[in-house]
Symmetry: C2
Subunit: 334 residues, 2 copies
């Protein structure tokens, strides 16, 4: 039990000062997986400026919020969002319990295993699948299911668990921000409860700092009278496009100072961040590396990066990260 921290902290800081130790003296590169260039420089300059009390761009510690999109920004989103892969595999489980689904769309298409037909499913179809596969589970059952799935499921290209497909350069950015007093948040179109299952272990982002597409839950009691929360087919927050700043306001209540995205789904989050004025950092990951990862055209089904978005980035001073040129390595295991 720590009853009085201030005097101890003060003493230790005084000792540090006497020994001539200053945090700024450590000169190790905080972003070793980045090539030198405008993107790396923008990140380092921003953190330096906003944490230096003598700089007019200084941001007080309690206001240091940095938000990160997930799919395509901090891990691979091709050929399909990981959560969609999860849901599709859940349909097979569901069909064993309710065989009548085998004849009903969109379940029929999913169960056919025809990837081309599956890729054509509409957002409404996907919502039906989400509702059917998630509703009625307790929050704990859902967590356990996702955890179990993540332990065995593998990405089709690299044959590795999805949680190993995180971008090492972005992990370094998150750590660098946190080491400088920033709270790092996910602001993802993915399911909030899904991402929370692994966000702490994989990214160092605790569940309470995950803002995502969120459904309702319902409080009740199980047969033994124990309180439970079950998942409901009610959408509370569609955390994409305009839903991103709305979700940030709902869940954080502060405007970010830095925001990272990779598609038109992140445009509004970057606009909202920039509109706060003063020192703000807006960055977009551009998938231009078909060899080491993927090169998306401007009409890609996921992570759409239109020509209009590129034009807006240039006009507004948003920094575009070229995976090909800015990243020395993409994955930790490379």
């Amino acid at each position: 039990m720590k009853r009085k921290t201030a005097p101890l902290a003060t003493l230790l800081m005084a000792v540090a000062a006497m020994l001539g130790i200053s945090p700024a003296m450590a000169q190790t590169d905080p972003l070793p997986s980045w090539n030198d260039g405008p993107a790396k420089k923008a990140i380092i300059d921003f953190v330096q400026a906003t944490t230096d009390k003598s700089n007019p761009k200084f941001v007080p510690p309690e206001a240091r919020i940095a938000t990160f999109d997930q799919d395509g920004t901090t891990w691979v989103e091709q050929p399909m969002y990981t959560q969609v892969m999860y849901c599709l595999e859940r349909v097979a489980v569901l069909a064993r319990e309710k065989p009548e689904l085998k004849e009903v769309e969109p379940f029929k298409t999913v169960l056919s295993g025809n990837r081309e037909a599956m890729a054509k499913l509409s957002m409404k179809d996907l919502e039906k699948i989400l509702a059917a596969t998630l509703t009625g589970m307790t929050v704990e059952e859902f967590n356990a299911e996702v955890k179990k799935w993540l332990e065995t499921a593998k990405d089709p290209r690299w044959k590795r668990p999805y949680t190993e497909l995180v971008y090492q350069p972005m992990l370094e950015v998150m750590k660098f921000f946190r080491a400088n007093g920033y709270k790092t948040y996910f602001v993802t179109g993915g399911g909030q409860d899904f991402v929370r299952v692994y966000s702490e272990q994989v990214y160092g982002i605790p569940p309470e700092q995950v803002v995502g597409t969120a459904g309702g839950t319902k409080y009740g009691y199980d047969k033994s009278g124990k309180p439970i929360l079950t998942k409901e087919p009610k959408l509370l927050l569609n955390d994409d496009k305009a839903g991103k700043p709305e979700g940030i306001h709902l869940m954080i209540g502060r405007r970010p100072y830095a925001a990272f995205g990779n598609s038109i789904g992140d445009k509004q989050m970057l606009e909202y961040t920039q509109a706060g004025g003063g020192a703000r950092l807006m960055m977009l990951v551009h998938h231009d590396d078909g060899k080491r990862e993927y090169a998306y055209g401007p009409k890609s089904k996921v992570g759409t990066f239109t020509d209009a978005l590129m034009a807006q980035a240039k006009k507004n001073g948003w920094v575009v990260i070229s995976m090909k040129n800015d990243w020395k390595k993409i994955f930790a295991w490379e």
Copy 2:
């Protein structure tokens, strides 16, 4: 800029160890406004047990979450919730802009100034007032309005700003928890955006740790093209009763280890906390001090503490705090 914190922290801890300094050695009473008794003992025992690595009840730092109801638990809620007072005063402002409201209920009753008639307004009436007084404002306009109001508005009994009517013993509990690595959250039936305006300054709880009744916002652009968020008359979360555990799951995504409330509105939050098993602390403030504050009967309009709730507290081992017996002082300025 702090590029490498671990080695510095390690060194400082080593210096502290050499000097024989240990946080546990500071023996100052963390709860000076509390009389010795079962309530004070329960708090200190809980914090000691859950922060002691050798104790089977140890809770790892990242899981240390403590939730607090606000109205009636950490500040005065009589004769009416502070936020209701605010809304009623906003009606007068609104009526000057839209004189037609003067003839329409529930606005007519509010403008009459008849406190008895106002006390009879239904929840639906209050919702109409909330929608009329809040909708269409930008988030920043709302914050500025509330801030301005709080600077001048005074409680009718003590003639002091509402923000001075906080319970000193509960401020000490919050600080004690935080000093021991707990994240303190509000989980309030009050408006999330309203409470966020002052929670950091008054209670040390940052906006991102306020869970409250939340309405929607709408992302858009003002006439100059600047991105704005405006308040919408859409209820996303009714953070009362069953809505409290639902809100905790939505906004925090972890179950609390300690929960503080004062009424039937907090029952489900305490049940949900306890259902996590292991070391959990559930406490209820009982308003039994008509002299220094208020003594509510079991049928009070606000902060209802029924006989059934008292029976459940006894049965479940929830600790009831007697304002009269457990608190040496109620307000900091006493």
